[in-house]
Amino acid sequence: MDDDRIERLLKGYSLPAVSPDLDQRVLSEGAAILGRARTRAMVEEVGRSLLQGLGFGYLAWAFDLVTTTDADYRVEFI
């Protein structure tokens, strides 16, 4: 048997089945994680709109500025 023949033979096999239990575990936990993230994003959006409506839009702007700017730590030798 040459290399080509054994490669063809091997490629004809398929992958073993994944258990439905694993599918269920991964999909339900994953959906819950993404669902919580979506809810959090929606609450943030509502809070932002509310602040904007009440005339405190600068608070949301300041919050974004703080959370999206990388902190810069420095050690100065005297």
Partner: protein, 193 residues
Amino acid sequence: MREGVGTSYGCSRTSGRPVPRDTELIAGMIRGESGAFADLYQKYRARLHQYALSLIRSRLEAEDVVHDVFIGLAKQASGGRMPRELSAYLYVSVRNRCVDRMRRKPELPLDDVDLDVIVAPPGDEERIELRRLLNRALLALPAEQAEVVVLRTWHDLEFAAIAGMQRTSVNTALSRYQYGLAKLRKELGVHGR
């Protein structure tokens, strides 16, 4: 408009329509769409599961590894972060987790290992007959050779990608593949094939 849970990507509904590209699925996951996550899982689960099985040689542990990798990915997406090269990230994550688990437990003797890394298609008498022999021969290969044979044969990964995962040269990955095939061939030859 945001899409809700299972609105368009249901795992069981993927047949009969093209699966979106990784970049689209990643974007969907970052938007919190569980359907995108289901599609991504559906796309990679069988391959990653077989890869984990071939490395760790335990059905339960392989399932745990696949579970942890996908849940880790969902957590990253929920924080708005995702890997740039998704396929490479998934394979490397599975490999690292398997290696980590293998360090913590003694290797089982081959006689105690009972699992199928490959499955013969129904009706294919030749492959059905050789399945047990090939499964055993695959598991008996040195780990790095078995890994290259599995990734090259059933996952269509390039030798360069496999070499990157094994942190070796392309030539070494190629040699491992050839040595692995030669041993499988020899094993079949011994049994009169």
